[in-house]
């Protein structure tokens, strides 16, 4: 029974037993279709955010350059590394669930969660420093965009941590059915979206 279930998952997720491991079949949509509709919607919303920031940069370049210089670059770089590394662990967790499901599967998700928690802590530290220095969203347009857009992103991270907790719980099951694999893939897709959006936000707020 158990062997049959594992085979079912492997047949649906893998090209063949002889293929390199952790490779899903061609034309495979990871997770549920609903998560991809959410990804598409979120990408469109954040596209508008990116254009608003760029327009602000274009029309108030002096103010944006001066305001950006007050940001702590290392905080942004560190947060980028936390999310990239978190995404890496989550991607490894999905591969582990799909192929060699065992104890390591849920540990990868736990490490991904740890990276997310470090991101939230670092972001809170950064915001705390800014607010204690008297810098708020009302200071100027740059900080209005900075607090609002990174704040919306931070909400995504917090929701993503909850989603990863669900994925970790599913990955602890002794046997993973095809439906469980789709749940784990959906959670991972959402987490990678968070990473992807941060990459652009980091570049626009900290590097330009």
């Amino acid at each position: 029974m158990t062997g049959g279930l594992i085979s079912e998952v492997r047949r649906s997720s893998m090209r063949s037993a002889a293929s390199p491991a952790v490779r899903p079949a061609r034309d495979h949509i990871p997770g549920e279709i609903g998560i991809w509709l959410f990804v598409a919607g979120d990408l469109l919303v954040f596209s508008a955010f990116f254009i608003v920031i760029a327009l602000g940069y274009k029309t108030q370049i002096e103010l944006f350059t001066q305001a950006r210089a007050t940001l702590d670059m290392w905080v942004g770089v560190l947060n980028t590394l936390f999310l990239l590394t978190g995404s890496w662990f989550v991607a490894k967790g999905v591969e582990s669930c799909r192929e060699t499901h065992g104890v390591s599967s849920h540990r990868y998700f736990a490490l991904g969660i740890l990276c997310g928690v470090l991101f939230v802590a670092n972001k809170s530290f950064e915001w705390g420093l800014k607010i204690s220095a008297g810098i708020t969203p009302l200071t100027n347009d740059f900080f209005m965009y900075f607090f609002v857009f990174t704040g919306i992103h931070l909400v995504h991270v917090v929701v993503g941590l909850g989603v990863l907790l669900v994925a970790r719980g599913v990955s602890r099951r002794p046997v993973l059915r095809a439906k469980d694999i789709r749940t784990v893939e959906s959670a991972a897709t959402f987490w990678h979206l968070i990473d992807l959006l941060w990459i652009v936000l980091f570049s626009m707020f900290y590097l330009l």
Binding site: A21, F50, L81, L84, S87, L193, L196, I199, S203
Partner: protein
Amino acid sequence: MTEARETGFLRQGTNIAWLLLVGSTLFGWWLGHVVHSADEYVRIATAGVLVTAFVKTWIVGFQFMELRHAPWWLRHAFHAWVLVMCVVLLILCV
């Protein structure tokens, strides 16, 4: 199955993607310093920051989100988003 598993850190796509992403983050960081320190190369460095960012988003989508194995319409929709957003932001910022 175990014997079919790719071994070696650099033989697994997710590991290579992570190394590329970390490397390009450090490269983007350096370009950011150029943007704010040298007038002569500001436009090139600004373009470099944006192109590096969208190359990173493509790596995340292609490797981590597994779009490399997705149906062509989903893969190309993502490619279109990366390309269009990169061009729009280059026009606005450079």
